[in-house]
Symmetry: C2
């Protein structure tokens, strides 16, 4: 693919159930991934934006979604938030303030 | 960690030996990861730069290293190239031209 306009990284780190630090996979990152992948396909966005799964991104208030080139880190993302991130951030270049982690985390 | 100055993503996709498409893990991504991780630790760079492993980044001329916020994609990276990427791109803000994949790939 050509260089994407924006690149969405989704943490898929899995520490298993009950781990004291938690992990994005145990917080529902899989459903967030599925929602992005399905939306990209249904809305024909795969040519413009890239979607990549990652290991640990650092903070563990997941599911975490990180969007570059802005370097905006979202936390506690649910499948219901995905359309908002796509509509406001990816397509309208306006990061979603209410979903961003606080500055001391990122 | 605070938001890093630059974020280094290393593809760790593994399709097993002999796969027709190849994969970064089979091309030596593990040694590239180790070299970055060791250099970040030895040179005390973990506070400024982030290092994250990923699934498939798209092209498969690996090992692939992708650096944001510039969105520069390196291909066929070897452990010997890591110091160059750190010195020139991360620390001096000058992406390493000769290691970048061609525009039709990224």
């Amino acid at each position: 693919m050509p260089k994407p306009e924006k690149h969405v990284f989704i943490c898929g780190q899995n520490r298993g159930p009950g781990h004291p630090r938690g992990s994005c996979a145990q917080s529902g990152a899989g459903t967030v991934w599925d929602e992005f992948a399905m939306a990209f396909q249904q809305r024909n966005l795969n040519g413009r934006f890239a979607l990549t799964n990652t290991g640990c991104l650092g903070p563990c208030n997941g599911p975490h979604v990180l969007v570059y080139p802005e370097g905006v880190m979202y936390g506690n993302v649910s499948a219901a938030d995905v359309a908002t991130i796509i509509d406001e951030h990816l397509l309208s270049d306006t990061p979603v303030e209410k979903l961003q982690v606080p500055p001391f985390i990122w």
